[in-house]
C-alpha cells in the first residue's frame, strides 16, 4: 500500500462525520429512549387505529402505511401516496376569536407568542388556539394540549421529516413536498412546511408555505423566550 493510500485510510478515523441517527424500523419515535415520553398502551393503540383510519379514510387513497412517528401529541404517518384533499387558506376554519384568558384556559397554561408590534387576534376551535402571524409571509401558530387529542399528519416520501431539538424540547420538521394535516372536527387539508415541538403538555406548531427550517427555529426560540 502506498503512503498516499495509508494517509487516505488514516483520514477515515479523523473525518468529522455527523453522528449516525438511531436505527429503528419500528413504529416508535426515532429519538433516544431517554427522550421518549412513556405513553400508556391504550394511547398507542388508539393512535395507531386513528392513523390507520385517517390513512384509509379516502377510498381513492388505499395508500400503504410505511411508518408511523410519534412526537407527544403528534402522529406522522408515512404513506407512499397522499390522499387527494383540498388546499385551504391558512386562516380557514380557525374558529371564533377569543381573548387571551379563554386561550389560556383551553391550554391550561398561558399562551406563548413571539414579540409582536400590536395585539394578536386569537382563535379557538376544539382546544386548538391559533394565531395568524403577519411576517413577510403568512405563518400560522397553533397551540394545543397533547392529552386532549392527537394531531395527525400524512406525509409522502417527498416530505422530509426530520427529528430535531427546539431549544431543549423535542421537535419535528416537515419540509419539502406538502403533507396533509388532520385537525379534529375540520376536514383534512394540505399543509406547507411545518415545525412542531412539545413543551410540557402543550404542542406548538408553526406552519408556512415558504417557511424555512432556520426561520422556524429562530421564531420558535422567540416564542419560547429562549
Amino acid at each position: 500500500m502506498s503512503e498516499l493510500e495509508s494517509q487516505l485510510r488514516q483520514l477515515a478515523a479523523e473525518v468529522e462525520w455527523p453522528s449516525t441517527p438511531p436505527l429503528g424500523l419500528t413504529f416508535e419515535p426515532r429519538r433516544g429512549a431517554t427522550r421518549a415520553r412513556v405513553r400508556p398502551l391504550w394511547v398507542v393503540v388508539v393512535a395507531a387505529l386513528v392513523a390507520l383510519a385517517v390513512a384509509f379514510s379516502v377510498p381513492a387513497a388505499r395508500s400503504a402505511i410505511l411508518r408511523v412517528l410519534h412526537l407527544g401529541g403528534v402522529t406522522v404517518v408515512r404513506v407512499d401516496v397522499l390522499p387527494p384533499v383540498q388546499e385551504q387558506q391558512l386562516a380557514a376554519d380557525l374558529g371564533p376569536a377569543v381573548d387571551s384568558q379563554h386561550a389560556a384556559a383551553a391550554l391550561g397554561v398561558p399562551l406563548r407568542l413571539p414579540p409582536l408590534r400590536g395585539s394578536a387576534k386569537l382563535h379557538l376551535r376544539d382546544g386548538v388556539v391559533s394565531v395568524l402571524l403577519a411576517t413577510p409571509q403568512p405563518l400560522l401558530l397553533s397551540e394545543f394540549r397533547s392529552d386532549v387529542f392527537l394531531l395527525k399528519k400524512l406525509a409522502s416520501s417527498g416530505t422530509n421529516v426530520v427529528s430535531l431539538d427546539v431549544g431543549t424540547a423535542p421537535g419535528l420538521w416537515l419540509g419539502g413536498a406538502q403533507h396533509i394535516v388532520v385537525f379534529p372536527a375540520t376536514p383534512p387539508r394540505l399543509a406547507g412546511n411545518v415545525l412542531i415541538w412539545q413543551q410540557g403538555m402543550v404542542v406548538y406548531r408553526l406552519e408556512g408555505r415558504r417557511l424555512t427550517r432556520r426561520a422556524a427555529l429562530e421564531l420558535a426560540g422567540k416564542i419560547m423566550g429562549t
Partner: protein, 171 residues
C-alpha cells in the same frame, strides 16, 4: 434473515445494525448534508424492508443495503453549490511512533492530513466518490461497485486513475 423476512422488525434491525453507520456515512458522502443523509438512510431502510422478501439470503447484506441507500441518497442530493465539505475532527490527528509527539509534529501532521482531505475534495465527483468509498468507508471493490452502481472492474480502474490524479495533486 428468515425471521426478518417473516416480518420481525427486530430481526431486521439486527440484520442491518452492523452496517447502519456505514450506510449513513455513505448517504452523507453523497448528499453532503446530515439531515438529507438521515432522511435518505431512513427511507432506504424502509425500501430495504419492503424488498426483503426478494432478497436471497445467500447474498451478503451490506452491498445490498448500501446500493439501496446510495440510490436513495442520489435521488435526494441537493444542487452542487449547497453541499457541505468534509472536515477533520479537532485534535484528531495522531502521529505514529512510541514517544508523545511535540506540538510542532502534531501541527505538521494535521496540516498534511488537511491537505490530503482538501485535495480529495477537489477531485471530480467520480474520482472522489470511488476513493471515499474505498478508503474513507473502507469498502471492498465489490461493495464500492454496489454502492456506486459500477462493475467491480470499473471500480478497480477508476480507483487507480483517481489515486494517480490525487498523487499528482499532492506533489
Amino acid at each position: 434473515m428468515l425471521r426478518a423476512q417473516r416480518g420481525d422488525t427486530r430481526a431486521f434491525d439486527a440484520l442491518v445494525e452492523p452496517h447502519w453507520q456505514m450506510a449513513f456515512r455513505l448517504a452523507f458522502l453523497i448528499t453532503r448534508d446530515a439531515a438529507e443523509a438521515d432522511d435518505a438512510a431512513q427511507e432506504a431502510l424502509l425500501k430495504a424492508w419492503r424488498a426483503l422478501a426478494r432478497f436471497r439470503d445467500t447474498e451478503p447484506v451490506r452491498p445490498w443495503l448500501l446500493r439501496i441507500v446510495a440510490n436513495e441518497a442520489r435521488n435526494r442530493r441537493r444542487s452542487a453549490g449547497r453541499r457541505g465539505r468534509l472536515a477533520l475532527r479537532a485534535g484528531a490527528v495522531q502521529v505514529s511512533g512510541g514517544a508523545a509527539p511535540s506540538p510542532e509534529e502534531l501541527t505538521v501532521a494535521e496540516d498534511e492530513q488537511r491537505r490530503v482531505l482538501a485535495e480529495l475534495e477537489a477531485l471530480p465527483e467520480q474520482a472522489r466518490m470511488v476513493l471515499a468509498c474505498r478508503f474513507l468507508l473502507d469498502l471492498s471493490e465489490a461493495e464500492t461497485a454496489a454502492a456506486l452502481g459500477l462493475r467491480p472492474g470499473t471500480v478497480k480502474s477508476r480507483t487507480a486513475r483517481a489515486l494517480e490524479r490525487l498523487r499528482k495533486a499532492h506533489v
